[in-house]
C-alpha cells in the first residue's frame, strides 16, 4: 500500500491527573482506522496508564485502562514499555493490564529513529 507511515504514540504521563493519556488514547483509536503502521511506547509515568487494578469510581472520572486492552482488536499490536521506567517505579510486566514488549531505552530509541511521525501525549 502506498503512503503507509510509521507513527509512534508516546505516553509519558500518568493517567487521571491530567487528560493527556485519555485523549491520547482517543487519538490512537481513530488513527487505527487508517491502516498506518502504528505503535505505542509507554515511557516514564506513562507506564502507569496500563497498570492493573485501577478503579476510578471514587474520583468521578471515567476509567479507561481497559480500553488499552482493546487496542489489539484495532490491530494496534506494537505496544512497547521502557524497562527502566517500570523498574524505577517498582513495577514489573505482571503489574500491567495488557501484553506488551518490555524493551530497553536503547531499543525503543532505535525504533523511534525509524518513525515518520512521533506524537507525544
Amino acid at each position: 500500500m502506498e503512503d503507509v507511515k510509521k507513527i509512534m504514540h508516546v505516553m509519558r504521563r500518568a493517567p487521571h491527573g491530567s487528560i493527556y493519556t485519555y485523549e491520547g488514547l482517543e487519538m490512537i483509536l481513530i488513527m487505527a482506522a487508517y491502516e498506518q503502521d502504528l505503535s505505542v511506547a509507554f515511557i516514564g509515568d506513562g507506564v502507569y496508564a496500563i497498570k492493573d487494578d485501577q478503579n476510578t469510581d471514587g474520583i468521578g472520572i471515567k476509567g479507561f485502562a481497559k480500553t488499552f486492552m482493546a487496542l489489539d482488536m484495532y490491530d494496534v499490536e506494537k505496544l512497547y514499555v521502557d524497562k527502566q521506567s517500570l523498574e524505577e517505579r517498582g513495577l514489573s510486566e505482571d503489574d500491567l493490564l495488557v501484553d506488551v514488549e518490555v524493551l530497553t531505552s536503547e531499543e525503543i530509541g532505535r525504533l523511534m529513529n525509524e518513525q515518520d511521525v512521533i506524537v507525544p501525549h
Partner: protein, 119 residues
C-alpha cells in the same frame, strides 16, 4: 517541504502557542508550506473569538486568524476536544474550523513533518 503542526495547549498559560506560531512563521518565510495547525487537548481554546487580551499583549487567536488569512494555513480544532471544552462554531474565529481526528491522521500522512508543541 510540507509541514503539519499539532498544538496541545491553550493560549497564554503556556508558551506552546507562541512557539508554534513563531515556528510556523519562520517555516513560511523559508518557503515551506505549513499545511495545517491542528489543535488538540486544551489547544482548542486557541481559536475562540471572545479572546480579549490587554492591548499591549499579543492577540493569539487573531494571530491564528491572520496565519490562515495570509498564508492559507488551515487552523483546525478537534471536535471531541472542543466539545469537552465548550468550543463550537458559535465561538470560533473566522479562520478556524472544527474537524475530527481523522483529519489529523490525514495531515500526518500527507505532510513531510508533523511537529508537536505543548507542555
Amino acid at each position: 517541504m510540507n509541514i503539519g503542526i499539532l498544538l496541545k495547549e491553550g493560549p497564554y498559560n503556556h508558551q506552546a502557542s507562541d512557539t508554534a506560531y513563531k515556528f510556523a512563521e519562520a517555516a513560511i518565510k523559508k518557503g515551506h508550506k505549513v499545511d495545517a495547525v491542528f489543535l488538540y487537548n486544551d489547544g482548542v481554546t486557541n481559536v475562540t473569538k471572545h479572546t480579549d487580551p490587554p492591548q499591549d499583549d499579543r492577540h493569539i487567536a487573531k494571530r491564528w486568524d491572520e496565519l490562515h488569512e495570509k498564508h492559507g494555513v488551515q487552523v483546525l480544532a478537534c471536535i471531541a476536544a472542543s466539545k469537552r471544552r465548550g468550543i463550537n462554531d458559535d465561538v470560533l474565529i473566522e479562520g478556524a474550523e472544527i474537524t475530527g481526528l481523522g483529519t489529523l491522521t490525514d495531515i500526518a500522512i500527507r505532510n513531510d513533518r508533523l511537529v508537536t508543541f505543548g507542555d
